[in-house]
Amino acid sequence: MPYTADKPPLAETPEQLRARIPGWGADLDPADRPSYPREVRGLETGAHWDLPEQQQERQPRERSIEHARLTPVFGTSVPLKGLSGVVRRFAYQRFSEGRAAHWLLLIGADRVDAVESHLASFATTRPDNPVTETGVLAEPSHHPLRSRAGRVDVRHQVLDPLVVVGPWVLSGVVIYRGVRAVVRQARSWGP
């Protein structure tokens, strides 16, 4: 069969499918499909401008060098700051989106941002708490074993705690060793 011109016959006729499945064939005609063709002109969008007004740039806004200008509208959720901000600004100013360095620097800056932000949180009244923030407290009440029984992806989920907790443990060890070294040094200078 597969090596002839015929396609294997279907188990159900169009009439059977129409009877079994609500709406079967309602969009058979491509003209009824809203994204056919994908590009069309003359759609009513509600816009009443040719070029939108420019949103005020209250502080220097990073942008891709593949843009000729700052776009008329942009997000302002988290302005650049700290070392991660330096790396991000460099990535935007130096490399186009076509360069791997652009994205790898941004990914690297994300990791720097997380470390910076965790450290900064310890100087606030609400330090980061990896227990509550990872949501693992939901585990006991949501069938942790039954939900994972026989699942193929569970073998890699064991890496998740390593990724989340590992840096915290590593940081703790580094801080402990640092403090211990300082204390030992101080004692050695003692009377």
């Binding site: 279907l10 609500p22 401008w49 891709s64 776009t71 959720s77 965790h118």
Partner: protein, 382 residues
Amino acid sequence: MRAMVYRGPYKIRVEEKDLPRVEHPNDAIVRVTTAAICGSDLHLYHGLMPDTRVGSTFGHEFVGVVHDIGPSVRNLAVGDRVMVPFNIYCGTCFFCARGLYSNCHNVNPNATAVGGIYGYSHTTGGYDGGQAEYVRVPFADVGPTIVPDWMDEEDAVLCTDALATGYFGAQLADIVEGDVVVVFGAGPVGLFAARSAWLMGAGRVIVVDHLDDRLEMARTFAYAETVNFTQHKDIVVEMKRTTGWLGADRVIDAVGAEADGNLLQHVTGAKLKLQGGSPIALNWAIDSVRKGGTVSVMGAYGPIFSAVKFGDAMNKGLTLRMNQAPVKRQWPRLFEHMRSGYLKPNDIVTHRIPLEHIAEGYHIFSAKLDGCIKPLVVPGAA
């Protein structure tokens, strides 16, 4: 206001944030009444998306009530109940003028390779999202639509992305009557794509996943045949076998970057973030479709290169079609289908989570506990 805030990979919390304000004459501020967590939010949550900044608020699927408007807003008024497409778009640039709303050139200074999206990192423009009590909605005259009186709140929030994306994905597959359609991934987008494939006249729809709860939903909600890929030594061979050794006419990738894959794919993609996600589902799609067939990619991938089997795609003469869905273009026809009883989107909702418990919600969704398929987020419900 209370808002979900990203604190680094796998870590989020709810914080007090300043109310968003009108920053452009055509902005609206919307008080969120229901939001959703999308599978693609997990890419952010896991730290896969470049330039995801600590302190940002996720959420690109939400409905709410207009709280404030800028001076040039004509089409909305304070108090209107609105549904907001996940795309932020101007309506008049080269791309919007051709209906490519998801590729707007006027809203994302950070990248030209992607348009503007709420709460989806600075790579998509640096906008805060709707997993919060309030959200800034740019181009209020273009994106939002007043929720029809007959439409349920949960159905409305599913129209803002998942349903529209699944429906769009089936359209990109160029389905003709009698086609054999395979959908990889039985998450919300895959379920809606499978259901939409029938609307376009598919002769057979097969959904592939490994989670039994989701495959059950694919059978009951999407009327699809199902295949659990863990029960087959090689899923590509199984797809060939079940299609008379031709391959499927159309294949839809509704998995994206979170595919588990083998250890190498998982570590380089999900853990080291050195790929734009693990492309295993896309590679299965390329190898499972018949020669000359179409692969529609609805799964979201990051901007970093991914190890895609492009040679197979070329040698098989495939048509690869993909885009973020231009959501609002789908709505008039989708609304007709909903009113006709062909689609009931909130049948797939499994969890409703108060905003204050969103960290647990993300964990449940990410770890796929309790058969979680689609979690909604309700501000003020704690």
